[in-house]
Symmetry: C2
Subunit: 227 residues, 2 copies
DNA sequence: CCATTACGATACAGTGATGTATCCAAACTC
DNA sequence: GAGTTTGGATACATCACTGTATCGTAATGG
């Protein structure tokens, strides 16, 4: 029997703290060694615990990973939703109309900040997300979770993007449910290149704004000014 | 000392055959259990060998994986290049001009066939490629290999796509080096959804043609017929 | 045919990780 | 401040996997 995670009883502050420390340690170790490659021992060592603490809080490495993802997903979901309400006044208080380049810049910034929500390290989260994808593709039980997160992310993001685009006097010429993942694909590519290159590389996060601008321009047309 | 891979001495037919069997087995096991999760033992068992055969042919699981990737990359590089020369007469012998939908269908077919080059299983290769990405992001020594393959793939693909697009009386309104990876992103997304859903799902390989058509239309404009 | 080599099987020693059962200390309870 | 509970440390038994050293056999060639 495991005292690991009884959701009926709220965890004490002490317990909560050790869990957070284990989460942070696990995050780092998972990124470095992979979920499969990481040993429980290594995670505990990085968090300055022994395995006793681990097994007192979690049933297995996999369960820890799942809980960790939940934490990170929550952070991001909250972030997107906060942007959804924050963007409107920001656009309104902007005096003149945005240029398409500025709109693309806003979207690029959104993406980049989303990635750095944890650890201030864009590639760390990307690696973890890729690990999760891999697990989900193998384990049918996990697949819906992954799909749901992605779907939810883009669904929440769509109106934000649409507003920004509208603030630049444009609108998508294809369904926004298709357009937003396409923009996301470009971001994905930039993240990958950045992760591969360590820091700076062609097609890295630096060029994301420019590329997004080109794409955004192609995917939208001008709203008839009036009449 | 390992008799594993002396490139100076060409391997005997027997040796070649066992290597192929180990490759095929490794492919399956890697997809099922992941590269880290796969044991040498499991690979050998699936290939009906003992570990003796393995260590006689390879130094380590990692080296086997690298050799396996090389095999698969070669296949795909050959495929793209074969299409590059095969597409022109195919377009020419087609009587009338292609519609944008037909052009998108050609590109979708190209992508899908590329994925199924091995094992006739689109998702297997996708999983393996994702594993490689993960390894490359961790190991700076591998990063250039991954990047080079991707880069090379899209570089070779670009003229093919451009020809197909031209056969539909259109041309890209943004740099083709940007447009082709964007198309690839859509394909990537479809693959992911398919892998996650097992068989059929919204956004799966079935819808790829239609989505590609929409995107292709947005990224291109009509070539002035004449005059 | 016999000798030799190539190649895979077998056996073994070593290692690192896992999960559990038990113990000990600090933190609440009254 | 004694009793109780909570939470993490320690110690232990087990196991899967690894790599190597050796052996047996099937292919090869003269």
């Amino acid at each position: 029997m495991s005292a690991a995670a009884d959701p009926t009883i709220p965890p004490s502050a002490r317990r909560q703290a050790t869990r957070e420390r284990l989460f942070d340690a696990a995050m780092a170790v998972f990124v470095e060694d992979g979920v499969q490659g990481a040993s429980v021992e290594a995670i505990c060592a990085r968090a300055d615990f022994t395995r006793g603490a681990f097994y007192s809080n979690f049933d297995s490495k996999e369960q820890l990973f799942q809980a960790l993802l939940e934490r990170e997903f929550m952070r991001r979901a909250r972030y997107v939703q906060s942007q959804a309400v924050a963007i409107e006044p920001r656009l309104r208080e902007h005096g003149r109309q945005f240029t398409p380049e500025e709109a693309a810049g806003l979207i690029a910034d959104f993406f980049i900040f989303e990635a750095t929500l944890t650890d201030n390290d864009a590639t760390a989260w990307f690696v973890l997300e890729t690990e999760f994808l891999l697990l989900a593709m193998r384990d049918p039980a996990l697949a819906p979770d992954y799909h749901q997160f992605m779907e939810g992310f883009y669904t929440d993001l769509a109106p934000v993007v649409e507003q920004v685009v509208a603030a630049a006097g444009r609108r998508f010429t294809l369904p926004v449910e298709l357009a937003v993942p396409i923009l996301g694909g470009l971001y994905h590519r930039a993240l990958r290149n950045t992760a591969l290159a360590g820091t700076e590389a062609p097609g890295g996060l630096g060029d994301l704004g420019a590329d997004l601008a080109s794409l955004l321009f192609a995917l939208t047309d001008e709203i008839a000014p009036r009449g």
